[in-house]
């Protein structure tokens, strides 16, 4: 079991890439910056388990993004949030 790379409250950026395999990052979130809301557990990385190529495990984090960062215009409050689960290898500390 590896130690988490990120901790709650850290600002992280979601990678903006499109690997040619099944991956669970919606395009609306790619490249955006959010805050780690929760450190979750280790799970099978879906990118590597297609057609039985093995199941390396990766940690998941919940990332909280202000809706006003994602959409323009956005109909709602500045406090409205979008929260998604992202695998560790898609995140790096934001500048």
């Amino acid at each position: 079991m590896s130690e988490p790379l990120f901790s709650v409250g850290q600002r992280v950026q979601i990678a903006d890439r499109t690997p040619p395999v099944h991956h669970r990052v919606p395009s609306y979130a790619k490249g955006h910056v959010g805050v780690i809301e929760r450190v979750c557990g280790m799970h099978a990385n879906p990118e590597l388990c297609i057609r039985g190529d093995g199941k390396p495990f990766q940690r998941i984090y919940r990332v909280r993004i202000p809706q006003t960062d994602l959409w323009a215009p956005y109909e709602g409050t500045d406090g409205d949030k979008l929260e998604i689960e992202i695998f560790e290898h898609w995140l790096e500390l934001a500048q």
């Binding site: 669970r24 919606p26 929760r38 998941i60 709602g76 409205d80 949030k81 929260e83 998604i84 689960e85």
Partner: protein, 209 residues
């Protein structure tokens, strides 16, 4: 079972659910017959799985909510580690991480899976057709308040909305606010108040009627 063929594999099409004839549905029926003929599973196993899925309903989620409303220590365990807390009540969603989001005066939560339709079926039963629909999945992340108003939930600016997109291995349920005037109610009576939509987040207020 109504089949008269001697190799009827438990084909039990009901009068109100006719056998489908589209090309894609035929692929599905064909796969099923091939897998059963190939010995990969039996019609009995199929029936058992269907019965299990049909046995799950939002009543399961309702029991969890009622316990959280009446036992504040349980509620904290549920919010902190939903995966383990539900096991105390005999439920299990492993390997998924069951995660509960609490509605408050200032926060309203709503759940979606934009990429497909992930949903905690063992606790809520089968997902409604709208949850799986293109229009819900596309719009609720971008304009949650507009979508919620279509469900009759109109939120003031005093309430923040949090949309949870079930993109990986978490499965979510909303913990609705306990209605006023239910202070001395039993857990069973409280559980009976809870609706599927309140557990997804497309309903905010629960009626005590």
């Amino acid at each position: 079972m109504t089949g008269h063929d001697d190799h009827d594999h438990g084909r039990t099409f009901q009068p109100d659910h006719p056998e489908p004839t589209s090309d894609a549905a035929l692929v599905g029926l064909a796969l099923r017959e091939l897998l059963i003929e190939g010995g990969h599973y039996t019609a009995d196993e199929e029936q058992a799985v269907i019965a299990e899925m049909q046995g799950a309903s939002p009543e399961n989620g309702g029991k969890i909510v009622a316990r959280a409303w009446t036992d504040s220590d349980y509620k904290q365990r549920l919010l902190h580690n939903g995966k383990d807390a539900i096991k105390e009540l005999g439920f299990d969603l492993e390997p998924y991480e069951f995660t509960v989001m609490e509605n408050t005066e200032g926060v309203h939560n709503v759940i979606v899976c934009t990429l497909c339709s992930c949903y905690p079926r063992a606790l809520l039963g089968m997902s409604p057709a709208w949850y799986k629909s293109r229009n819900y999945r596309s719009r609720v992340v971008r304009e949650p308040r507009g979508v919620l108003s279509e469900f009759g939930v109109n939120l003031s600016d005093d309430v923040d909305v949090r949309v949870h997109d079930s993109t990986a291995e978490l499965r979510y349920m909303v913990l609705p606010q306990r209605p006023v005037g239910t202070d001395n109610w039993s857990e069973d009576d409280l559980a009976a108040l809870i609706t599927r939509d309140s557990l997804i987040g497309t309903q905010r207020d629960l009626s005590t009627k």
